[in-house]
Amino acid sequence: MQRIHTHEYDNGLKLLVEPHQGVASCGLTWLLPAGVVCEPPGGHGTCTLLSELMFRGAGDRDARAHSDALDGLGVQRSTEAQPWHLALQATMMGARLPEALPLLVDMVSSPHLDADAFEPTRQLALQSLEALEDDPQEKVIVELKERFLGDPLGRSVYGRGEDLRALAVEDVRAFKQHQLVPHGAILGVAGAVDFPAVRDLVGRLLDGWSGDVDLPEARCSGPGGHHHVPAETAQEHIGVAHFAPAEPDPQSMVQRLGIAVLSGGMSGRLFTEVREKRGLCYAVHAMYAAGKEIGAVLAYAGSTPQQAPETLEVLVEQLQGISEGVTPDEFQRAVVGLKSRLVMQGESTSARAAAIARDQYLLDHPRTLDEIATAVDAITVDQLNAFLAGHRPDRFTTLALGPQPLAAPVPAG
């Protein structure tokens, strides 16, 4: 039986700690209110630059000393530009947390953001943009989100080339000053740790840190429609999106079960209909991306050009067809699959740290695995079918990246 301890500091930072028995590791996720939606006009890429610059010197250590200190403690760490947050994630032995935490806190509270480090960082960001051109499976989803959600929600986490070239280190410093604040920040820790010790240590380390920031409105301005991005690829890479409930919506768990029927395992409808029965592709899947205000279903399939038109057609047919209902057997498989994944997630301290921090942001409270399992068990096949019947998707945003344009799909009425 897991228990999640929570604490809110005077400066607004929220701490969540889930101690685990029988493990030696600890995972940490720190969500900072500095995602790409917060980037100023003309500054798309600031979050990406900051997320890299945080590794290049902090506190009283230069980049090398800081990196060596973390490596010496065996701390695996990364930062990620996300839509709403700049996320700092780390995994280490729980016993090392007291030594590692000061180094991680330095990255947030006192990164150097040196002028010398800026140009190499910009070069890396520009190269990542170029590398994205060579990664069609990733690029199709980036392009799809831009057209589906529009600005700022669908903004690419890679930044925009033009803006990256124009930004200066002062812009990143200003962004840091404005956005890396405790109010709206969430720190999730799970694993071999002791709650009071972590609470007191974080409190001491962040004494004096203050600030508040208004986040932009979650506005959805995507044009939708059907698009083609020409590319000299071997496969046509196809992305499809439609709206779905946001995470706080009471129906979000029901939607999750619906997606599990479509894409939960190899008996899922997409795998069966697109790949197994027709041999149209190797990779096909759909995921439910639930945000705080907006949710979406995003589907992908990659198919050689001659098979691509049929792939898109069958994909859309399946996304719509589920509204006619699922069988009790499909429902049961989805429930068991979802609950198994929960237990498996519980075996990973880093996955749990990320999950409780995400819950706190989306739902204003972290959920234990038992709580989620109970919510899944409360859903009946009739509830799922009623939901699906009432939420038949009829407007899709579709995008094909590849050598030839595809005809727009014609969703059935």
């Binding site: 028995q21 029988g22 493990v23 030696a24 590791s25 290049r56 990196s67 973390l70 490596d71 010496g72 065996g74 701390v75 695996q76 032995m93 140009e119 190499p120 960082t121 910009r122 520009l126 170029e130 590398a131 060579d134 990664d135 069609p136 499976q137 690029k139 590319a231 000299e232 690829t233 071997a234 496969q235 890479h237 939960g264 395992g265 190899m266 008996s267 899922g268 790949r275 197994e276 027709r278 041999g279 149209l280 592709c281 190797y282 990659g302 050689t304 057997d329 049961q332 498989r333 068991v336 699959g337 198994s340 994944r341 237990v343 498996m344 519980g346 075996e347 990973s348 880093s350 990246l401």
Partner: protein, 412 residues
């Protein structure tokens, strides 16, 4: 965390190993078959991987649909993979479903290989080849393996080529299956909360009648020579560089030193390649890793960068490898060891990770190595071991493959 190792061998040679951990919340099992692209004849290139797909297409007791549904009915996280040397079928489940998972895996390991399924799945394989053709890393990796290993089948493409897969017949696949999927050429690995004796009883019931063929592997010679090849790709945007050079095998005790040396020189963070290439923004990726194969091994180095910095990045990579043995310090070796120990510990905390480690060790080493022992062996690595390794291997000869954008840039 108390973990007990258990082992059994059936009369037909099938070996079963397990780490029983009563405190675990899940259980994992996998059938590891000692076969892969290395065990193929050139005209059959890709048969091991294609066969792996066909194993999910039904048995005497189950249709393909039923196989998939039965795995999903128990909420299994399951899959299969094919490498140059091992084909693995595995499932990670809640403990109460372990018998169902064993029943399914042992059933699909004796597949029907029906014609209609074979023809349909061929399309899926050709799609998979197309998908990897869109990944520059795989393009240069496959080419470098081919160049390095020459006529040795270790250099074969795991997926095969469009031609070899198109030409493959179901009969040839059947012959390959009968020869290679022999009980004395595989091991069943178990980890997590489980009743080992009950598992052995069940596996004996299901697999005890499988006939052994005495399948063996011909290792062949590896005669690496220095080489460099440039691929021109009109659709690429970045420059990609990948090289192979000799390293210790999977059985060689120096594999621990090889892993540490790779981290010191080319870990994604905090390594020499990181500080000389990534930190100054010259390359967006620059890494070195060690791949131990059965009785042979390689170091793999890889970088991607802006095409206009290709020459500079290539020179820096070469210099780092040329001077690998110079100035190795105890603290950089210590840091590398800490990083590897952390990864081992994390994967050891999950039954799925232990199951994979156990199966691999048993196939390559024929013995069990507890996580604590592995950590001890890692801990014992010193600067002198790295210097010895560099003296013995020297990152020579090098097989290089570079992929450079052609005249028409921009594909997206």
């Amino acid at each position: 965390m108390s973990v007990e190792f258990r082992q059994a061998t059936l009369d037909n040679g099938l070996q079963i190993i397990g780490e029983v951990n009563e405190e675990a919340h899940t259980a994992a099992t996998g059938f590891f078959v000692r076969t892969g692209s290395r065990d193929e004849q050139r005209p059959l290139m890709g048969v091991s991987h294609f066969l792996e797909h066909m194993m999910f297409k039904g048995t005497e007791r189950r249709s393909a649909d039923q196989v998939n549904r039965d795995f999903d009915r128990i909420g299994a996280s399951y899959n299969a993979s094919t490498s140059q040397e091992v084909t693995t079928y595995y499932a990670h489940v809640l403990p109460e479903y372990l018998p169902d998972a064993i029943d399914l895996l042992s059933d699909i390991l004796r597949p029907s290989l029906r014609d209609a399924d074979f023809d349909m799945e061929k399309n899926v394989i050709l799609e998979e080849i197309g998908m990897y053709a869109d990944k520059p890393f795989w393009v240069v990796y496959e080419q470098a393996m081919e160049d390095y290993f020459g006529e040795n089948p270790l250099g074969f493409r795991i997926l095969g080529t469009n031609d070899s897969v198109t030409d493959l017949s179901r009969e040839k696949m059947g012959d390959y299956f009968r020869q290679r999927y022999s009980p004395d050429n595989m091991v069943v690995s178990l980890a997590g909360r489980l009743d080992f004796d009950a598992c052995v009883g069940q596996i004996e019931q299901a697999c005890g009648a499988w006939e052994r063929t005495g399948a063996e592997r011909s290792h062949g010679q590896v005669d690496a020579k220095p080489s460099a090849r440039d691929l021109d790709d009109d659709s690429a945007n970045m420059h990609y560089l990948l090289g192979l050079c000799p390293g210790p095998s999977a059985q060689d005790d120096r594999r621990y030193a090889a892993a540490v040396l790779s981290h010191v020189l080319g870990d994604a963070e905090g390594s020499r390649m990181y500080w000389e290439l990534i930190d100054p923004g010259l390359a967006d990726e620059a890494e070195l890793s060690h791949h131990g194969f059965d009785q042979t091994g390689v170091f793999v180095f890889y970088a991607s960068c802006d095409p206009k910095r290709a020459g500079q990045v290539g020179s820096v990579m070469s210099r780092i490898l040329d001077r690998a043995g110079e100035g190795l310090k105890a603290d950089e070796v210590e840091r590398a060891k800490r990083k590897i120990a952390m990864s081992l510990t994390l994967s050891g905390e999950r039954p799925a990770g232990r199951m994979q480690a156990l199966g691999g060790q048993w196939l390559y080493l024929g013995k069990h190595q507890p996580l604590a022992e592995e950590l001890d062996r890692l801990e014992a690595v010193e600067v002198a071991d790295l210097v010895d390794l560099v003296d013995n291997y020297g990152f020579e000869p090098r097989t290089l493959v570079r992929l450079t954008p052609g005249r028409k840039r921009k594909k997206g």
